[in-house]
């Protein structure tokens, strides 16, 4: 297998309802990534794109073929990945595998979504399609509902009073907004307070509004190249040192393993083993904070903290820049935003920017190794990527 580098990244500002189409948004991110790679669209050999709801939000099926044509990468093979919120990460992992295998030298991966456009009722309905339509949706499950149930399980399993856990969870959102306020591409660029989180309306007991990420519009793209091609194109290649992916059935089939997510633990182990690294080697992590409790569960599943200890770690500042592990200095899904089909490669965008030391006030000093963690559905898909500075 060949070494593979990310040589260029692009991302639109994440936002509420956009006038631009999902193809237009993707094209903006893609052209920036291609330009940063010192390439032209005709140099791209294949496109791997995440998109979940283009059909519902815009009546647009197979946006990837229109995107390839729109950016001038005429007639290249273009595939769409639908792994719910982990779609772009699944696309990026497959793009990596195709370049590592030697089949392609230069590919474009990314994702696009216009979820905000749909409005909350339809977005809630279509997001819930990432759950089991036969054995979960009839009970009225929603994604906040899934993580609300995991919150209660977490509190009981670890003997943490719910009121205490809720304040620790609120701190997750406060941290995300703190960094989002420093990120010009973030959906929300404002600080929030503990009182504001705890005063929010109830979405799904016990998750309140600011425990939840927003529905966002946006796109992201990355260019992957073989080591040989990368050396000719950039003096700052970011190598993909390890990848992992695992799947799981519906929430109920995960039974008493919950609130742990087995698919994450399997995926992360693949990535760590491939990279020859362990959690203590990771300087910065962009993880899947779709809900405040999701951060706490992810921090443990990725091996940064012992099971039952992550909520306290958040409370004591160990997940901020300068703490044990810098978590979501982009603002995460909570503040940077969550255009679901674009989220995975937006996480890669931010890790690459961190490793290149281009993040200004939210820079993790001396970051050399970064990790992404993306979750789709109720643990149905997990993808992890480990990225390393190549200079």
């Amino acid at each position: 297998m060949r070494r593979v580098a990310v040589i260029g990244v692009g991302m639109t500002k994440f936002s509420g309802k956009q006038d631009k189409t999902c193809v237009e948004l993707f094209a903006e991110a893609a052209m920036d990534a291609i330009s940063e790679s010192n390439l032209k669209p005709r140099d791209i050999q294949a496109l791997f794109m995440g998109n979940v709801l283009g059909d519902f939000s815009e009546g647009q099926g197979q946006p990837q073929v229109f995107a390839a044509d729109y950016i001038g990468a005429f007639n290249i093979p273009a595939n769409k990945y639908e792994n719910a919120c982990a779609s772009a990460s699944a696309a990026a992992r497959d793009a990596f595998i195709w370049v590592a295998s030697g089949f392609y030298d230069i590919v474009l991966a990314g994702g696009t979504e216009t979820a905000s456009k749909m409005g909350t009722p339809l977005a809630t309905r279509t997001f819930a399609m990432g759950s089991d339509s036969r054995y979960e949706y009839p009970a009225g499950i929603t994604f906040p509902g899934v993580f609300a149930m995991l919150t209660h399980l977490y509190a009981k399993k670890h003997g943490i009073p719910l009121e205490k856990l809720k304040r620790q969870m609120a701190q997750v959102s406060i941290n995300s907004h703190h960094y989002g306020a420093l990120n010009p591409k973030a959906h929300f660029q404002k600080e929030i307070t503990m009182d504001k989180v705890l005063d929010g309306f109830m979405v799904c007991q016990p998750l309140q509004l600011l425990d939840c990420c927003p529905f966002s519009d946006g796109a992201s793209a990355i260019v992957l190249a073989s080591e040989e091609a990368a050396r000719k194109l950039t003096d700052k290649p970011v190598y993909i040192a390890g990848v992992g992916q695992a799947s799981a059935g519906n929430l109920l089939s995960q039974k008493d393993y919950l609130p742990r997510i087995r698919s994450r633990e399997l995926s992360a182990k693949q990535a760590y083993d491939m990279a020859g690294l362990s959690p203590k080697d990771i300087d910065v992590c962009e993880l899947h904070d779709c809900f405040s409790i999701a951060t706490i569960i992810a921090l443990e599943g990725l091996g940064f903290f012992e099971f039952g200890k992550a909520s306290e770690a958040v409370e004591t500042g160990q997940t901020k820049i300068g703490g044990k592990i810098a978590v979501n200095p982009s603002g995460g899904l909570k503040a940077k935003g969550h255009p679901i089909g674009a989220t995975g490669t937006a996480q890669v965008y931010d890790i690459v920017k961190q490793l290149r030391a281009e993040c200004g006030e939210r820079q993790v000093e001396g970051a050399r190794v970064g990790m992404t963690d993306t979750l789709g559905g109720d643990g149905g898909t997990i993808v992890n990527l480990i990225l390393k500075r190549g200079w």
């Binding site: 309905r125 009225g140 509902g145 209660h152 799904c204 007991q205 016990p206 109920l252 039974k255 919950l258």
Partner: protein, 136 residues
């Protein structure tokens, strides 16, 4: 390959207040809702069995912001119940005001009734789910 128990058969039985599952003849595990192989060992050697519909609430939420088309049902309680036969199953809970439910209900014994989601333009028909209530 034939299904031992399809969604349609499971759904029609649930509408008659019967909860069906599959008992594995290799490892003994009960799989419910059904799959084409055993949820534990992936064996295809399974027989259809009727389950008690009784179990213990493992976790819950009260949904205040529902999906499009489910507005009239909110607020409602979703529970994950571990059945006495082993499987976990998702359903709703009645017998308590939705906005009064707290973690106190976790661990409580429940028995099964059912309710039917009539379906919407995306769902290709209806779908029954267990509607649990507290055991006396």
């Amino acid at each position: 390959m034939e299904h031992r128990l399809s969604f349609k058969e499971y759904n029609e039985a649930l509408k008659q207040n019967k909860l069906l599952g599959l008992k594995c003849n290799e490892c003994g595990t009960i799989t419910a809702p059904p799959k084409i192989t055993c949820g534990e060992c992936a064996s295809t050697d399974m027989d259809v069995v009727e389950l008690s519909g009784k179990g213990e609430i493992q976790t819950f939420t009260t949904v205040f912001v529902p999906a499009e088309g489910r507005e009239a049902e909110a607020p409602y309680i979703i529970v994950l119940v571990q059945l006495d036969e082993g499987p976990w199953i998702m359903g709703n809970l009645t017998g308590i005001e939705p906005d009064k439910a707290t973690m106190e209900i976790m661990g409580k014994r429940v028995k099964m009734g059912h309710a039917v989601f009539a379906g919407d333009k995306y769902s290709a028909g209806d779908g029954a789910r267990p509607l649990f209530s507290f055991e006396a």
